[in-house]
Amino acid sequence: MKPVLNKCFLAGIAMLFVLCKGQAQNNLTLYNMHTLPQRIQTNPAQVVDSRLFIGMPGFSSLHMLYGNNGFKIRDLVSVNDSNQLAIHPTRFYDALSKNNTISLNLNYDLLYVGFKLRKSYITLGMGEKVQTRFNFPKDFFGLFIIGNGGDNLGKEMNFNFGFDLMVYNDVHASYSRAFRKDKLRLGAKVSYLNGIANFNTEKSDLLFQTNPDDFHYTVRTDIRVNTATIFDTLNNSFEVSDPDFNVFKSRNRGMGLSFGATYQVLPKLVLSASVVDIGYIDWKDNVKNYKTANPSQKVEFYGLDFKDYFNDSTNINQSIQHMLDTFTDKFKLTESYQEYRTTLPATFYLGANFWLTKRHNFGLLFYGNYYQKKLNPAFTLSYNGKLTKILGISVSYSMINRSFVNGGVGLTLNGSAFQYYLVADNALGIITYRNASTIDLRTGINFTFLRKDKQSGLSGKGKKMGMQAKRNAYSG
């Protein structure tokens, strides 16, 4: 690799850390499935073994993903020897991170087609995406399970619950082309996005501190929440029985970009990198914003007044009411109707594949997304093989969401042009759900044509060049 390319590559990686923000997409097994066209969605520079594919209209791809980086079900409940359902509050609390996220995504491709044109590969597609994310803070549970009087005394606890929902249409096209004698392949994908509904928790700080000296409480809030929908919720309530289809003329538009590259470093070693879904949606329809009127305001509660405490219950009630009124007044939310922008849940992939033969490779993949100023990484080792013309298989081992036991499986079953596929990053998680922090499943049907075995990302010519390079190396 030339120095200038090295620099570009490193700069690109650095950019990924800055740009990527969002929630889990994973697709860790899919990334290396060279028999499955949907892998192009994880890296637009990737190619597949078919020169033409058509996703079955209406069932091209259905991808469901549940991710929980906070706890596993077994941390909270288990069945003990007495066959009782045992609830483990402390174990649950210990398992939590400072901020925890439960994600539930549903991606549905209505249409997806792609074809090879000389050195280029072009895809077109459209689909619906539903992304939800619920954030819950460890501190909130700590308040009840640990209390505010022990380790939490003096600590600023943040009860920053958050909820995000984004529903949008994605119409996309990708293009990739081989360069440098087919060793290098670069690709890009452009998406036109049309937002349907959004609930965006920009900030949800509810900070609570217990003073270690006299135990008085300090509370302050900084909340910023935006909502938007194509339905006119500001003036009318949406009735499912009588929908107004004009609402689909949404002004909630945006775009997304994906970039990818593959590079054959050695005849059997291919490196790849991609950043997927860098983009945004501008929400303009039926927008409502809620914001803490004065985030610098704080309320301090020192207890009841001495005189009230000893006088009578009426005064105590008045004091409590006064305190509640103060909370209501100081933490008042203001409403506005200003359009806003949300970014897509961008992710990046860095991969390396060592090809044993033209049908089998071992993959190493580093994945990450950057959410709430924190990198959420995943790491995957995989075997990817095209056992026969009928069966393609990938077996992966991933570390995702602080979980180290995620066994993934991907299968493609081809009967002539017909292809059924099933991919899961944590296949065991579907069965042993108590231990799972990530459960995902992608399935669908494609029609693939003109399939040919070759190393991913390379054209046949490139492969020849690679073999020639290998011979040169041996002879050298």
Binding site: L85, F144, G149, I431
Partner: protein, 541 residues
Amino acid sequence: MTRSKKLLPVVLFLLAGFTGCRPEELDTVGIKVDPVRPEYAIPLIQSDLTLDDLIGTGGIGFVKKQSDGFLSLVYRGTVLSTRAGTLVPISDQTFQHTFSLTDAQATALNNGQSQTIPLDASYTFSMGSKEIDSLWIKAGNLTAALSGMIKTGGVLKVTFQDAYQGSGKLSIQLPFSYNSSLPVTASATKDLAGFHWDMTKGTPAYNAVNVSFELTLNPTTEVLSAGDRLDVNLDFKGVKYTRFYGFIGTLNLLSEADSIKLSVFDNATSGQFSIDDAKIKIICGNSFGAELKAGFKQLAGYTPGNAPVDVTGLPASFPIPIPNETNINVMQFDSVMLDKTNSNIVGIVNGKPKKVIYDVYADLNPNGRLQRNILTDESQFKCIVDVELPMYGTAKDFVLESVDSAHFDLEDTYDDMLENVLFRFTGVNGYPIGLETQLYLINAGGQVFDSLFTDRSYKFLEAAPVGADGKVVSTTGKTTDVVFDLLRAKRLRDLKRIKTRVNIGTLSQGGTYPSVKLYSNYVLRISVGVKAKLNLNLKAE
């Protein structure tokens, strides 16, 4: 073997592998929750305590702030006389007159000629020793009634010559008629509100009522005779005044004994306490326009079980201002002060009396009929006795003790939950007064079974240091933790009473206790928080 056949075992193997995995099933009996041991901290109380909160005037006093913020504690006793409206009432009055026909008048009436009979009469308002020069009437009625044996009709007009409302005289008319039966009767009533009545047009020049009658009789065919009578009654009832000019006689206005509770010494048991410049201020208010003499029959410090200690230097009588006609509506005040320069009041106060007792008298016109009096119905005499304790002095081992009933509910169910409770007392003292305290916990048998602190007098807060000007320059603070473990907390169930012992001492400088002053910007902040360590075994079915 074709490729498909080669593949078949692989597919079957994978299918078998997946179908062999069966999702875990939940088939449980009951729920068990692991114990948790949280520790909660709660702020219970916080107050910035003022001097009034700390000392307590018991609702009978107040804290007086001077312009520089210097504070005095004032205990007040007030005695009030009866108002003039009640003290000097106007009794109901009745005046009577009888008309009798002459022979000529009877003949003229029988001959078809009407007759008008004018008559002036003078009466005296019956007020005993009181003399009315004039009255401004605010309520009351005049009822005029006639009863006659003259067989004809007519009208009687009665006019009070010296009673005016504006320019109109008080007048009343009684028309009457003969309807073949005797006696002929008639009556009328007049509201007296708003009339001003001058009663000086007579001899003597008070209580004089001058009335003019005018009786008009119609001609008649009935047979009239000389001597036929017509009786007239004039009744004044419920007369109340806004002003009374005259003389109300010599009256004892007030003779009342009362006491002022000095609650600052309520719970004092021992120790030294001194107020450098205690005072008693007697404030007299008067709105009687009459000579008034008032004074103390007794003024003394008193502690039950001991003889009263009389205050010396009492004036023979209080200075009492007397309003004149122009300011009769406003109570006038004057005062006299007893302090360390003219009495023994400092010594009496420093003896920590529980009360100041006093007996006040007041007499109106004590020297008889020397001057005319002016009163309103609201005229009153008021005597205020202020025991003023300027907060400048010393205290050393000044101990206050009190016993209050108390109880502490700790249900059995909490036995397994509570590991310990920590009470945290945080004090910030802005007063140059130190506090030592102890709380004794007493059971139903009257026995002390626990105390809050281990020391008999726990140094709860040090006195705040003062500068050269005697003012506090900085506050002192202290945090005190008291821990109740489960065993100690359980004993609180026996709690019936709490004995509080507070030892107060002003700032000590090398063993001496210079007098300190208290200012309004001094604050004692007390916070109480609780931290409870729990052991929660939640039971769920």
